[in-house]
């Protein structure tokens, strides 16, 4: 039973990681086209400073980022997205990063 409680301790720990204060949300229109893009964007953005979560809706191409406003701001997030290789609202994707994307994400017509 002791060992079982260690296992549940991990779960409780996981919950505590959540309880954070202030957060803001921004919606950014991206140039994503497929599920692979979604994974690349969500994974990449989640490692940006201040980001709590990043979710992309492939159909509308809109990325919703929940972040800590004392650590980052909307523009920094847009720039970060262009560095992953995608357009962020009116900002164009970084061409170098774009050409490193998986092939299916380098849609013709872009760049």
């Amino acid at each position: 039973m002791k060992k079982l409680s260690i296992f549940f301790l991990f779960l409780t720990l996981a919950f505590q990681l959540q309880g954070q204060p202030e957060s803001a949300e921004v919606k950014i229109k991206t140039s994503a086209i497929c599920e692979t893009c979604k994974k690349t964007i969500e994974h990449g953005m989640s490692f940006e400073k201040g980001v709590r979560s990043a979710k992309l809706d492939v159909e509308t191409k809109v990325l919703s980022v929940v972040y800590n406003p004392s650590k980052t701001d909307e523009n920094k997030l847009r720039v970060a997205l262009t560095k992953i290789g995608y357009d962020a609202d009116s900002l164009k994707a970084n061409p170098k990063a774009f050409h490193k994307l998986p092939e299916c994400c380098q849609a013709p017509g872009h760049h």
């Binding site: 079982l4 779960l11 979604k38 092939e103």
Partner: protein
């Protein structure tokens, strides 16, 4: 003038050719989908509708409506497509309106708006009761092969077949793995003599997904599957999702080490290739229960898979693949000298060597102008060599298999009537030597099959299949199978299935584990092929509670054997007797499961299962030994919002099992007739970094082991010796850690 003549032509055409063939038409219609409750139609703006085989296309407006000019004759085939949805095809006989209702694509079905993927999705589209185990779920197991991929799945259970060889077998519906069919990308695989270790020959990181079909399967893949089908899909070179490079390193506290890696290369627009490698090495001697025997045999494996995919762009897809495997296991009594220098009459040795070569080719033709028409061809050759020494028993076998299958698929008029038909051929030659008695078995089986699918709206679907095979020994074999599905709503589904199966047993290879006792294997009659009927009923209710998805599932399956090879370990203390079933033999399997995202990103799954399996042993109907009557599975998975941490915990409760111990040796006494119930707990933590991820965990955290897995371990050459009564884990707690690195 032009305007007038057009009207004239149109009018003339209309009169002359009636309504079916009309020139220069404007077809109108709409594209939509049903809402979650299945009651209201929602429009899909931005969907594409094109005329098959042409460049004519239109995009739907904000209300999901389209209009499309047709220059040629009617009827034409219209194809509607939309990202994340399955393409739908309809025949336009007149100018409409044509109403498309698209279904979400199966792979994307489990992706909801908050982007959590239910990793064990019971498909709501498939007529056949199929669960898809995705990569996410496969990764929850410690590592590294198919036998470990079912730890969080209630339908498939995995058990050690004995206490000395390390062989594992799956159970579905309470029936041994030999009654379910294993396919790799729809090719029958790891059959016959490869079956006892086959699960450990398919490395986890190579797999993209596993489809588990419960109950009778499709007739397309032969007459063999009785209790279910497992189809493994590997990572594909042509898919963007497959990383260009992948590396997985895995180590266990017991010194087991594994390496998995693959390289993907896209050569040009048409050709792509992938090379996959797997190796494992375990050389530590463990004897936690102090019985003088290895708890797990030492093992080594090298496994290589190379395949090439060709895609002509629109008409043809081809694949070739080559697999090679060598696997060696050494166990038994612990001793210091190499196995070759030991007298097997004094030291109980277990030496098992598997070698396997497999090659396959696939050729698929599609018709761009007729999207629902296709032809698929599969050819596969397999060579397997198994050399086994278990105590004083030896078994050497070689099996060569050639398999060919061709499937033609089309519709009858509309997509409401689809059919698949084709031919198959299988040649199988088995050369085996058991205790220096040689035998040869060679079979040719030629078959024809047809499977017809009828859809009525989105409500009802029926898949009726039948096949006729000509077996070179048993002549004509007829196999009918039927699957029905009815949707009360989109989320409430009832399924029913019934089907027949036929299988030729492998006397020794099916029962390799039984060799691990001093009993003689005794056979007094000619073995007949096994024939069974399987019936199933399933109800699935999806629900959305507080914006989070959940599924409730309940099913009941019955398998009735009319002919079966009975392995009798009850009746005789000196012999394991093999004979043909006389009387009844059945399995009743009931399962109820509930899965729900309880809190955001916190998933629960709870399942309860009853397996009631009985056979007639020596004229008496008795419970089949070593099958737990009751099981409970409880799984919790949690990940943080940024998905950088993932936690997973599983509790398996295994109920009591009937034991088949008949040892009467006074020194070892009479063992209990039932095993105790026990619980197994596993957990795993994964930390995702930007460029790699690390994971660690433990299996059997409570360190539960079966106390005396081997009866008379101190006297392995006495008549009491028996290592076949295994009902629980032998190796105790396992602790592991691993690393995954990939380049997209």
């Amino acid at each position: 003038m032009v305007f007038k003549s057009k009207i004239l032509i149109a009018a003339a055409g209309y009169i002359l050719l009636s309504a079916t063939v009309v020139r220069a038409q404007l077809i109108t219609g709409s594209v939509g989908e049903m809402d979650e409750a299945g009651k209201k139609e929602l429009s899909l703006p931005g969907a594409t509708v094109h005329i098959a085989g042409t460049d004519s296309a239109a995009v739907t407006d904000a209300d999901g409506k389209f209009s499309l000019r047709v220059s040629g004759e009617l009827p034409v085939i219209l194809v509607a497509s939309y990202i994340g949805y399955q393409n739908d095809t309809m025949q336009a006989m007149n100018n409409g309106p044509i109403q498309f209702l698209l279904q979400r694509a199966i792979e994307l079905k489990e992706v909801n708006v908050t982007a959590t993927q239910q990793s064990l999705g019971i498909s709501r589209i498939s007529t056949i009761n199929t669960e898809k185990i995705t990569e996410k779920e496969i990764l929850k197991a410690a590592c590294c092969n198919l036998s470990e991929s079912f730890e969080t799945n209630p339908t498939v259970n995995v058990a050690y077949s004995d206490a000395v060889t390390g062989a594992k077998e799956i159970q579905m519906l309470g029936l041994s793995g030999i009654y379910s069919q294993l396919l790799t990308e729809n090719i029958p695989d790891m059959r016959g003599i490869a079956a006892s270790y086959g699960l450990t020959f398919i490395p986890g990181p190579w797999m993209e997904s596993i489809q588990v079909t419960k109950g009778t399967g499709s007739v397309l893949n032969g007459y063999e599957s009785t209790s279910g089908q497992l189809n493994v899909e590997f990572k594909k070179p042509q898919e963007a999702e497959t990383p260009r490079f992948y590396l997985n390193l895995f180590g266990e506290a017991n010194s087991n080490m594994e390496l998995n890696t693959f390289f993907k290369k896209k050569l040009d627009d048409r050709w792509s290739s992938i090379l996959m490698l797997h190796g494992n090495y375990m050389n530590r001697t463990m004897d936690n229960n102090d019985d003088g025997f290895h708890d797990l045999p030492h093992s080594k494996q090298v496994n290589v898979y190379n395949r090439w995919q060709y895609n002509s762009g629109n008409k043809m897809e081809a694949q070739i693949g080559l697999k090679f495997l060598a696997d060696q296991r050494n166990g038994g009594q612990i001793h210091s000298e190499p196995d070759g220098q030991v007298d097997p009459h004094h030291v109980y040795l277990v030496d098992i060597f598997n070698r396997r070569v497999e090659a396959f080719g696939k050729l698929g033709l599609v018709y761009p102008e007729k999207p629902s028409k296709s032809i698929g061809n599969i050819v596969s050759v397999q060579y397997h060599d198994l050399d086994a020494l278990i105590g004083l028993k030896t078994y050497d076998a070689t099996e060569k298999t050639l398999y060919y299958q061709s499937i033609y698929q089309n519709i009858l008029g509309t997509t409401d009537h689809q059919y698949k038909t084709g031919v198959s051929f299988q040649y199988d030659r088995l050369d085996e030597t058991y205790q220096s008695v040689q035998s040869v078995r060679s079979r040719s089986v030629a078959g024809v099959f047809v499977e017809y699918t009828y859809s009525f709206l989105d409500k009802f679907k029926a898949v009726a299949g039948m096949r006729g095979d000509y077996n070179s020994k048993y002549n004509f074999i007829f196999t009918p199978r039927l699957h029905l599905k009815y949707n009360f709503t989109e989320l409430a589904i009832v399924r029913a299935s019934a089907g027949k199966s036929f299988r030729e047993p492998y006397l020794i290879a099916d029962n390799l584990g039984v060799m691990a006792s001093s009993k003689y294997l005794s056979l007094n009659s000619v073995i007949d092929p096994e024939v069974a009927w399987n019936y199933g009923l399933n109800y699935t209710q999806g629900f959305i509670l507080k914006d989070r998805e959940g599924t409730f599932n309940v099913d009941f399956y019955r398998t009735d054997f009319t002919d079966q090879l009975i392995v009798d370990r009850y009746s005789d203390s000196l012999n394991v007797r093999f004979y043909n079933l006389q009387g009844s033999s059945y399995s009743n399997s009931f399962q109820v499961s509930l899965s729900y995202e309880f809190l955001e990103r916190l998933d629960f799954r709870l399942a309860y299962k009853i397996d009631d399996v009985k056979s007639t042993y020596n004229g008496k109907l008795q419970t089949k030994p070593l099958i737990p009557k009751n099981r409970i599975l409880f799984n919790v998975a949690y990940m943080t919002a940024n998905e950088h941490w993932k936690f997973d915990g599983t509790l398996n409760w295994v109920g009591t099992q009937q034991l088949a111990n008949t040892t009467t040796d006074p020194e070892f006494g009479k063992m209990p007739s039932q095993s105790p119930s026990y619980s197994l707990v596993n957990f795993q933590v994964t930390k995702v970094f930007r460029y790699f991820e690390v994971y660690g965990g433990s299996e059997n955290v409570l360190d539960f082991t079966q106390e005396h897995p081997i009866i008379a371990a101190s006297a392995p050459f006495s008549t009491a010796f028996d290592a076949t009564n295994v009902w629980g884990p032998i190796d105790g707690i396992r602790i592991y850690a691993g690393l995954r690195y990939q380049i997209k």
